[in-house]
Structure formats: C-alpha cells, structure tokens
Symmetry: C4
Subunit: 252 residues, 4 copies
C-alpha cells in the first residue's frame, strides 16, 4: 500500500449528498460533533479510507479482534440531500500526506456527486465560554448571507485552519465544489463537548434536521479516552516513552 485507498463497502447511489467532516482536531470539537451525528442518525457505513500516512499500528479491540487505523464514511438518506459523514481515528500529520489524502477524498466525493462540503472544528481563543459562538468561513463570498441567518459569525476569525477542515474546502474550491467550515469557539487546550453542541445546533438548523443531544457528553468522554491513547502510543512508537516506565500497553 503506497497510496491512500478508499474501499467502498457496497456500491451505493447517493442523492445530492452534503459532506459533513469531523476528524480529530482542536478541542476534538469536530470529531465529537460528527461522531455523535453519525450515531444519532443511525448512519450506514459506506466506505473506509486507509492510508500509509496513518500510524503503522493496528488497534486491539476488547473482543480479541484487531482493526486497522482508518477514516470512515457513513450515509444518512435525506429528502433533498443525503448526508455523507466523514469520521476517523486520526488525521495525517505531514503536509504531503494531508494533500494526498484530501485529494483522494475529493475524487470520491466528486464521483458521488457531493454538492456541498461542510467541515467542523474548533476555534481556539484560550478562554472557556459559557455560550460558545459558532464561526464560519466559506469558499466563496456570495455564500455568506445564506449562512449568517443560522447564527454563524463571519469575519471575526484570524489565522489559519490546519488540516482536513481547511484543505477539504480549499482544495474542493479548485474543483468547483462549494464549502463552509463551522468552528465552535473553544479554549484550545481541553476537550470541549459544549463547543461541539453549539456547532451541532447550528448544523441542525442548516440541514433542517433534529438530533437528540443527551448522549453527547458520554460520547465525548470515549473520544477523549481514545484520542489520549492514540497520542500516548504514537509517542511510544517514536521512542518517546521508554518501555517499563509509563504506558506499556503496546507491542511492536
């Protein structure tokens, strides 16, 4: 395997799908939101993405079965638009890897006729907010008024969007696919389900769907635990943690 590969679970027809991305990132805001959405909407797994740029590890599951590290695509049928939800264990960490993986994803989205790319993430401010705002950035200026009406704030964010949340929209634009990035206001140093909730509330309005948010906290805990484990092992794999000292639950 020398390049990123998307394996389709079953040939499935999609109706004007809207892509919703929520991979691990700042405050895990996007990941928590998308994972919750996938579970609540009982989405069906339609494709898996494997990449040589992901860690060279396999995950040992409680049931004695291993599984590879991957990203997954889930489908939710809709009236006007199906939803295609992108979630995953990790994002690649080098530029070259991110561009390659994003390119492969966009190839797939184009083939499936994706009409809009929505990416979810956090916007770090260093402060804990009681009512986190939701900021937006679009690929094309004329889109802004359409999204302002859902309470998304434009023009107040500065700097860069790092990783898939930005590249999917930036590279999508080169292929004439419109996109919007929703960023929940967040501290930046802690896992933030409240920010994820704010993003989801706006997203539900945007997509005109309903979603129960009761289990969000529980799912956020699981995401945090998994993310910490992945990080610890990534460190260990690089020789960061000497065996016999800290976390030893790995083999190589």
């Amino acid at each position: 395997m020398i390049e990123t590969t998307i394996i389709e679970k079953e040939k499935v027809k999609m109706k004007n799908p809207i892509l919703i991305e929520g991979l691990p990132g700042i405050g895990l805001v996007g990941k928590i939101a998308a994972d919750h959405m996938r579970a609540e909407l009982k989405a069906t797994l339609v494709a898996e993405l494997y990449s040589p740029h992901f860690p060279h590890q396999v995950i040992m599951q409680k049931n004695g079965v291993m599984r590879m590290i991957k990203n997954r695509l889930y489908l939710v049928p809709g009236k006007k638009n199906d939803l295609l939800i992108l979630v995953g264990d990790v994002q690649a960490i080098t530029s070259e890897a991110q561009y390659e993986i994003t390119g492969k994803m966009l190839d797939y989205f184009q083939k499936k006729g994706v009409k809009l790319i929505v990416t979810l993430g956090g916007y770090g401010t260093g402060k804990v907010m009681d009512k986190p705002k939701v900021f937006g950035i679009v690929s094309n200026k004329p889109m802004i008024p359409d999204y302002k009406k859902y309470g998304i704030i434009f023009g107040e964010t500065r700097g860069s969007i790092i990783g898939a949340a930005g590249l999917l929209i930036g590279m999508g634009k080169l292929r004439k696919m419109p996109g919007v990035c929703l960023m929940g206001e967040t501290h930046g140093g802690i896992v933030d389900p409240k920010s994820a909730q704010a993003v989801l509330e706006v997203l539900c309005k945007m997509l005109d769907i309903k979603m129960d948010l009761k289990k969000l906290q529980i799912r956020a805990k699981e995401s945090e635990k998994f993310a910490k484990k992945m990080e610890a092992e990534a460190l260990a794999a690089k020789g960061g943690t000497p065996p016999g000292k800290h976390d030893l639950s790995y083999i190589r």
Copy 2:
C-alpha cells in the same frame, strides 16, 4: 532502488504455506522465536527482501565479506502445510515505509498461496513474569475458539500493535487472508528469551510440530548483541554519537 524488492533465490512451489513472522520488536520476543525456529527446523532460504527504507548501511562480516541489511524468507516443508518463516535484521521505522514493505510482502504471500499469517511479538507489561502468558489477537472473530484451545488468551490486551506484527494481519485481512498475532507477556525493557519460549511452545502445539529449545538462550544472546550494534550504528549514522567517543567501529 526506489521501492522494496523481494528477490527469490529459486522458484519454489509451496504447499498451502503458513507464514510465521518474527522481526525485531519489543523484548526481541518475536525475533528470538522465529530465528530459533528457522535454525532448529533447518529451513531453506527461498527469498530475500531489500528496501530503501532500511538503513543505508552494509554489514561487515567476520570473514571479510559485506552483506546488505535485509529480511529473509525460509521454507520448511510440512505434511499439510509448508511453513514460510520471515526473519530479518530490522523493521522500517516510518509509517509510509511499513505500509509499503507490508504491501510487497503480502503480494508475495498471495502469489505463493499463503493460507494463514501468524505474527510473533511481545506484549509489554512492565513486570518480569516467571511463567509468561501468551496473548492473541485475530483478524476475524470466528477464529478465536480455534486458538483458545492452545492456551492463547484473548481479550486481555489493550492498545496497539506497532509495526509488521500488526500491519501484516491488518492489511492481510483487506486481502481476505486470515491472521493471528501471538504475543508473549514480557517486561518491555529487556530482551526476553523466556517469553519467546512461551510463544514457541504454543506455536508448536498450534502447528503440531516438535522443536528442541536448548539453544534458545545462546541464540537470544546473539540476537541481543546484533540488535544493540544496529541501534548504536543507527544513532551514529544520525550523528548521535560523536566519532572518537563511544562506538567507533563504523565508516561512512
């Protein structure tokens, strides 16, 4: 040489081969077990694997002849199943390299009709055990009962398997090749022939073969010495050890 290359020593027909992998890893458990197996079963060298992802060094042998760093495949004829044993000097250290090399290996295994992939390794616990357990992880859930009866313990390991021991099974599964990873309980910070012995005992039952274990300790010493030398030189190659100070037996 821009990609990993497997050079077959001689065109050899194999009978439903079972792959046994034992490359360097935690506690050198897998390497010691597979090296011993290869020697005791008088296996025949059938193929060599070279990779641009291995260190750019050649090894100076005592007899005045150099040899490249490589992985090797050995064959042992069997009644129902031949054994194909994979051993080697090193594993690659980046994700991209591990995925590429594993892919090339699986290409070869598929061509040779490999029926089962068995990988050997250690599972670090930070403790020294008198009677190390042998843990297992499979590619497919229905396989578990078959292996439980040999005393392999399932469902008690957490975290990830790093490197070839995990990827061969994870990527093998994508090609519909079933696999099981056997992990000997080990401290994690020391070379552990006792854990390798526990793994071999279970493996002999599984494969219904006999093997003398007397020379295991001696071979483990050799493996440890070689592994330490490789590590020291890898460091030196990166400028970690200033010439004239520590180990100087290298040239570049």
Copy 3:
C-alpha cells in the same frame, strides 16, 4: 494532489518574458521588492501554483472567505520583454520539495518562452548599512560585464544561496535558460525594506522601467506581519506552541 500544480488563470501569450522572482527569504528582501513591483506595475494575475509541500493550512481572510497557501505569477506587458513576476506566501522547506517545485516552475517558464530568470534576495552580513550594496551572481560568466554596468557587484559574495533564488538559476542553467540573482546587502536578522529598495533601483535600471517607491515601507510592514503569522502557525501546527498559551488563533 500529490505533486505541485500550476493552474493558469487564462491562456495568455507572453512576449519574450523576463521572470522576476521574489519569494520569502532572508530579510524578506526579495519578497518586499517583488510584491511592491507587482502592485506598482499593476500586474495581472496569470497563474497560481499550489503544492503538497506547502503547509497543510488555509488562510482565513477578513472577509470571511478562506484561501489556500500558494505562489502566484503576474504579468506586466512590456515593449521588448513582458515581465512575469513570481511572488508567494511561502517557500517549501525540504530539498526534495524545492527541487520538485522549481522543476514545475521551469516547465511553465519554458513553455511561456522565458528569456531570462532574475531572482531577488538578501545577502546577510550581520551589519546594518546605510547604503546597502547590491551583489550579483550569474549562471554564465560572459553575462557579468552586462550587469556590472548597473552597479551590481560580482565576486564579493561567498557561501550558498538557499532555496528558490538559487535553484531557479541553477536548474534553469541545466535547461539553457540564463539567470542572474540580485542580492541586497542586509543584516540577516531583521526585515529590510531599505535593502529591497536598493535591489529595486538596480532592477529598474536593468529593465529600463520607472517605479514609485513611496509605498514600499507600508507594504514591507504588511509582509512582515504576514510572515510572522505564518511562522507562528507553522510552529503551532508542529505542536511548538501549546494551545492556551501564546497564539491561539488557529484551528485544526
């Protein structure tokens, strides 16, 4: 996207174009000069260059629209020679990336019939000069007398030219495209519009054009601000700045 891509805005015919390069580098001398030139001469955007070797970030603009990180090519029609001005947000940081990107640029320049490559940069001396000199280096010895007459000093610089300013000329020479690098004397540790001005004055003589230099200082400030932000975020992206501490205006 697995390789650098140049997207032409419109098919445009060029008349014996001279390439002027000014990407970020020491003292931002080349960038300030080329950015100013592009603005003053009201150059037209003709092509954009995207690369997987650039940071995997997109920039959030004040107007609520994101844009990718890129290099840009602008055209100024001339009597004998059109000017093709190369400016950009960043340079790639690895050798492999620089060689790949430079190769792609030269492919494009050859197709467009570029007659001469002029690269702009700074030459660090550790001193602040009142009247910075302009040093030159050419691809072919017979070119030197032609450039000496504009006050460019040859034979007084030592060492290497790192990045695009050097490689464009070095690799251009392999394709028989002549080139000259103009280096403004500069301290090396500070942004230096005065050095950029010295380079521009020489360049105007060389190209026989006039250019207003009043806004140079203002544009230099903007360049400095942008460059610092890019650097801070590149650091943050690598985990250099812990979230919640320094600059937090990024998302990933």
Copy 4:
C-alpha cells in the same frame, strides 16, 4: 526534478572501466584520496549527477558564477582498464535518498560496462596512527586472496559501512558487479590526509599506476574548508544558526 539525474557531458566509450568512489565521509579519507587522484591523473569530466536529495542550495563561486551541488564522474584512459572516478560535494543523508542515488549510479555503471567497483573510506578507531593500516571488505569471498597481496587487511573490521562506500558494493553485488571497499585506519573525529595517502598507496599498487603525492596536504586543506562550509550552511538552512550571529554568508 523529482529524481536523481545523471547528465553525460559527452558520449564517451569506456574500456572495461574500474569505478573508484571517494565521496565525503569519515575523516574525509575517501574524498581526499579520490579528489587527489582525479587531479593528479588529469582525469576528464564525463558526467554530472544532480539529485533532489542534495541540499537545495547553489554555491557562489569566487568568479561571480554560481554552480549547483553535485557529484561528478571523471575518466582516465588506461591500458587494460579505464578508470572512472566518482567525486562530489556531498552524500545524501536519508536511507531512501542513498538507495535511489546508488541505484541511478549503478544503472550508469552497468551501461558503461564497469568491471569492478572500488570504494574508498575511513575506518574510525578513535586513535591517531603513525602508519595507518588499510582494511578491506569484498562483495564475494573468493576475491580476498587477490587483494591481500597488496597489503589490504581483511577480517579485522566490525560494524557497518554507512553510505555510498557500502551501498555501491552491496547493491552492485545484486547486479553481479564485484566490489571492494578500501578503508584507511583513521581517528574518526579529524580530517585525515595521512590515512588517504595510505589508501592511495595501496590503490596504486592494485591498479598498477604511479601517482605523485606531494600536493595531497594542500588539497586536503581545501576539502576540509569546503566540507566545513557546507556543514555550517546546512545547519543554517535548518535554522540552526540564527542570522546575525555566526556564519552569515548565505542567502535564501
């Protein structure tokens, strides 16, 4: 330029050439020996090798002309065997790069009918010797007696040969090209023309040629100076030396 490229200066026929390699390495032993040989034997430049794995720098020469970083091949006509001498500014520093470059070199050597590969280097012992020994390592055991008679010592070196001196012979063997590596005993932490002289004396006997060694010291000084400059700039390019502090004679 995405891969290593060898550009032939002129189509030249070679008579059973013997390759002599002397690139920068421990104690600069191989480089000093090969550079001296090239100069004394008035060898003709026949090919240049450029690589994206070399530093992304061009060298500013005293005469105001830049040149790219490269390796060079020189030819000396002989009675029975022509000599093909490989010298250069640098070696690549990653494994992948070394394997790729060595592969490209061997392609060229095969096309030119190279009969024997001789690589030159130092063998670090941490001691300064009055009469440095010359150690050898061959690709094939039967070659040893032939070389022992020239005073080359076999079987006393341990560890690895890092870089081109080892890989050229290791990878050459895979293509059935025999090779021998000559290593001059050297301290390891200092530039060592005396060790280079010992290697050259043995080499002259081996090749049955004569060579004046008077200018060896002077040339060694030049090599040392150049190597130090390259290293300082490589550091600077990586941000190791802040501009305005140490060596500032570079631009980027």
